[in-house]
């Protein structure tokens, strides 16, 4: 009994007052998702290495804010996640992502299936608050099956990690500094059409927004039957994982 209690203490933290068991080496995000606790996130995808760039998963522990996706779980941590203050910060971050790009949902084929949009709904975002950047970013339609609309890219770098870690192709990268950071294609021409990206690659399918899209596949789901028409992002996210079968195929 005593041994059992000690074992649990050594591998237990709390999230919003709920005891959560974790395995050594897991991040706070890993432990939360395994316990079916949703911590908002856009750049994290279970099965891919974390990146820590979107900051939606900010939680508070030991009096400071940390990104749950890149912070190791430790025994005894008391973590606050679903608080009005943190959700207000997350809403601000979401508004920043909206104004930095051109997110015109009424004209986007990803609408209803988009994580950025669903995050706005989840956080009760009614408006973008900040002045719009109105960036002019290059569109790449050179690939026969996939097009790249950089005006919708949130630089989550999921495509970068998916292509490198799972597809083994290293098709994408982020280049440029600060507000000039942008998604590039690792070919001499910089064109997607000159890459070996395949429509079935994870990198061609993991974009959470409308930046990497399949050609001639827009508006296939009726309104009401799109992903986030039916379930909010906090429910959908608990079932997501890179399929084990495709993981490490190309290693």
């Amino acid at each position: 009994m005593g041994y059992h209690a000690m074992a649990i203490n050594q591998n237990t933290l709390t999230i919003d007052g709920k005891d959560v068991y974790f395995e050594q080496g897991q991040t706070i995000m890993d432990a939360a998702l395994a316990a079916k606790i949703y911590i908002p996130h856009l750049c994290h995808y279970p099965g891919l290495p974390p990146s820590g760039n979107c900051r939606l998963c900010v939680v508070e522990t030991n009096g400071k804010s940390v990104a749950a996706c890149i912070t190791q779980a430790q025994a005894g941590l008391r973590i606050h996640s679903n608080t009005p203050e943190l959700n207000a910060v997350r809403k601000t971050i979401t508004q920043m992502l909206f104004v930095e790009g051109n997110h015109i949902c009424p004209a986007c084929e990803k609408s209803g299936n988009c994580k950025l949009q669903a995050m706005g709904y989840y956080l009760g975002m009614h408006e973008e608050h900040f002045h719009h950047f109105n960036p002019r970013r290059a569109l790449d339609a050179s690939h026969p099956a996939i097009f790249l609309d950089r005006s919708r890219c949130i630089l989550c770098d999921l495509c970068v990690r998916a292509s490198r870690e799972v597809d083994g192709k290293n098709v994408f990268a982020i280049a440029g500094r600060g507000a000039d950071a942008h998604l590039i294609v690792n070919t001499d021409s910089g064109k997607l059409g000159d890459s070996n990206l395949d429509r079935d690659d994870l990198a061609a399918n993991i974009c959470p927004v409308g930046a990497i899209m399949h050609k001639q596949r827009g508006y296939v789901s009726p309104i009401g039957q799109r992903i986030y028409d039916q379930q909010p992002i906090n429910e959908i996210a608990l079932g997501e994982h890179v399929p084990e079968s495709t993981e490490r195929d190309h290693d």
Binding site: F98, N102, H103, I104, C105, P106, A107, C108, S111, G112, Q117, G120, Y121, G124, H126, E127, E128, H131, H132, N134, R136, S151, P232
Partner: protein, 180 residues
């Protein structure tokens, strides 16, 4: 006058009138609503300028000088100003012209467009000049509430207006919140 009616003004700036149509989609509830409100300046009335009003509904972004004038007139006369629809809130689909220079747009339509005869860019002083970009209304004046959607659902108009008529803060239900 014991029951002073709430005065509502509405306007379409760089809008498509779709938000006004969605407002009318409350159907027969418009009759009930009409018992408590009266319309000031609106595309639905013949009043030419916005007079003192309790609530102003603005559809559309700000694309030309006349839009700026109308929007400022509404802000000066409305106690509560509500941005209605994607265009008012973030510029909407018309803001896709922000991908281009204004001159490129005008030349494409009036000089080089298919089937153009007597090509010239209209420059009569009667016409309001286009702005360099399409702007959300809150980049021009202060906005009190936002009603998202392209257009917002009819019920969302009631969720916005009914509490305001009673002097309460409105709340848009999660299932009425969408940007498309």
């Amino acid at each position: 006058m014991t029951d002073q009616k709430i005065r509502i003004a509405t306007a379409s700036l760089a809008g498509c009138f779709g938000c006004h149509m969605s407002f009318l989609d409350i159907d027969e509830k418009l009759v009930q609503l009409n018992e408590r409100i009266e319309f000031n300046r609106s595309p639905l009335t013949d009043i030419k300028h916005c007079g003192p009003s309790d609530i102003g509904l603005i559809e559309g972004g700000v694309c030309n000088a006349d839009n700026v004038r109308v929007l400022r007139e509404f802000r000066a006369n409305c106690k509560v100003l509500i941005a209605v629809g994607a265009c008012a809130i973030n510029g909407g689909v018309p803001a896709m012209r922000n991908y281009f220079d204004l001159r490129e747009c005008l030349e494409e339509v009036y000089l080089h467009g298919t089937g153009v005869t007597n090509p010239q860019i209209p420059d009569d002083a009667e016409l309001p000049l286009l702005l360099d970009k399409v702007y959300p209304v809150q980049e021009v004046v202060r906005i009190d509430y936002f009603l998202p959607g392209c257009p917002p659902p009819a019920d969302a108009f009631l969720q916005m207006l009914m509490p305001l008529l009673d002097g309460k803060a409105p709340h848009i239900a999660n299932n009425q919140l969408h940007y498309d």
